[in-house]
Symmetry: C2
Subunit: 324 residues, 2 copies
């Protein structure tokens, strides 16, 4: 702040005037603007975001809570969100919760103490803590509370599409590998898949995995599948888990898609690294990122917006693990 | 700050005393501590990192520049660095430069204006800008300047190990797919590989790829390889590119490792998702992360440390794409 004071002194104006100019928070005459800018140029002064934050109550930062940045879906989403926020001059505080409530709680305290302007929480597990903060919050994937904006992709429809795709391709002995119960998103995929199967009177075998990303654990979880060769179609709750299933089948010399057809979920970059390339459900990360940023900025600007659950449409991307 | 002032008032002490207590920057008597804490508890006051930053000149934040958080190597490194910094109460400003100088420059300004305590720059392209900032900087992978601490893994040795591994397994017609020239790390892998081949008088064919991560572009770059089936060993500059090469070979029904043996680089999680699993060079992300954090914190504490290039040892992880 001393920096701003010196500039005020040299320009022969008050520090409040300099702050109005730098933070563009009020009228400053052309003549004075010129004076101040001249001193700023001379001094090589970098506006101090901390001082500005205290002047304007805006730190130009957003806290982003994600479960895990090594998970391709979430780091691709983080990339989109960061790019968009960047256009508006916001920087991200990255907080990866590892789906751990205590970590999430700690991070929330850090974000509050850094006076972030807004929080984008994905797969949030806290409730009261978000309700009690005065910071604008947008939630992705899990609904924290009816009073907090939620954005999620249409996981229920994703599950239904996955079933129809396998059914239309002749699959009748179908396995669904579902995600951990705690994840709303994968629960909805599971429900959509089952409901659609019910319409066709097709029974579905279910195996639940304990992790969405830990590759070692995924390998262990594969042991829960009893004689996999009896199936002709498998819908897996995410792409990473689907990749481990594909490897498992190839080791058993089961041909994909001739013997067993497979659908993953997320359309992350690994789909195209696999052989055969993985058919999957695309969550439209760009649309999710655009809307999340748009809404959190509107909340920050104090706009009156309807608090509701925005559901982003999904689509099935056919590649080589299902038949034409 | 008003918050802290109120607490000082209620506790009947000076604001400087409250700040000494909250920021633990000087002596406060037991009795006074108790008074202040009581008021803090009553007020539900959250220490304001911004105010603290101005009091103590420490924002408890570190800027982390990485090229791309969707690249498994860099997001795994970011995860380790963030975890370690977290233990010391630091939060990360995540800046992904996309190897773009202008983005890097913009981010550096943001970090300066947010008064980060330190910067960890990976694959940095700027020089003067880092030299001119008074913020402690630790560089990973690219040497910015002799006056700035650099940490890198032993990429030259990695290249040498890769050649020896293929040579010992009978490869004599060898292709190296190298990374873009601008990346110091992949240039060193290339040099180490060639030097070792020279010792054995083995000529190496070289194909340069234009990207380290963009899967679409990697697919295009594959076209640069003329009749790939004449090779019996391929060393690829990173795991992602190696995965696209594996897919390309499988489409041509070339068996890995019987017909062609392959080595990737990074030991990222995708190695174990591939079939066969990818033999690769492990960069020891944990050791890199530990040392980077240790050094940046020592710089922040003003410790006298030797400014040099720390080179972290690497190791080869044999999986299924090379023969026993």
């Amino acid at each position: 702040m001393s920096n701003m004071r010196e500039i005020a002194k040299r320009a022969g104006v008050g520090i409040a005037t300099v702050s109005r100019y730098i933070n563009n928070t009020g009228y400053v005459s052309e003549e004075v603007r010129a004076k101040i800018q001249k001193e700023i140029d001379k001094s090589g002064y970098v506006p101090n975001a901390l001082a500005r934050a205290i002047f304007t109550n805006s730190s130009k930062t957003i806290g982003l809570m994600i479960p895990n940045i090594t998970n391709p879906f979430f780091n691709q989403l983080a990339t989109v969100i960061e790019d968009r926020l960047n256009e508006y001059g916001y920087t991200i505080f990255l907080c990866h919760t590892e789906d751990n409530k205590d970590r999430e709680k700690e991070y929330l305290e850090v974000l509050k103490s850094h006076r972030v302007d807004g929080i984008i929480a994905s797969r949030a597990q806290l409730k009261e803590e978000y309700l009690n903060t005065k910071i604008p919050v947008v939630s992705f994937e899990s609904e924290i509370d009816q009073s907090i904006l939620t954005i999620s992709s249409d996981n229920y429809k994703g599950g239904k599409l996955a079933f129809s795709h396998l059914y239309q391709r002749g699959c009748r002995n179908i396995l669904h590998i579902k995600g951990p119960k705690i994840f709303e998103a994968t629960e909805l995929r599971y429900k959509g898949f089952l409901d659609k199967a019910g319409e066709k009177n097709i029974g579905i075998d279910i195996v639940e995995f304990e992790t969405d990303f830990n590759t070692k654990k995924l390998e262990e979880n594969l042991k829960r599948i009893k004689n996999i060769d009896k199936y002709d179609g498998i819908f897996v709750f995410n792409d990473i888990a689907a990749a481990t299933v594909m490897k498992y089948l190839k080791k058993k010399d089961i041909h994909i898609p001739r013997d067993i057809q497979i659908i993953g979920y997320d359309n992350s970059f690994i789909c195209e690294l696999l052989y055969p390339e993985l058919t999957t459900i695309d969550q439209n990360i760009n649309e999710i990122g655009d809307l999340t940023v748009k809404l959190v900025l509107e909340l920050i600007d104090g706009k009156e917006i309807e608090i509701k659950n925005h559901i982003i449409d999904i689509s099935l991307i056919q590649r080589e693990t299902t038949r034409d």
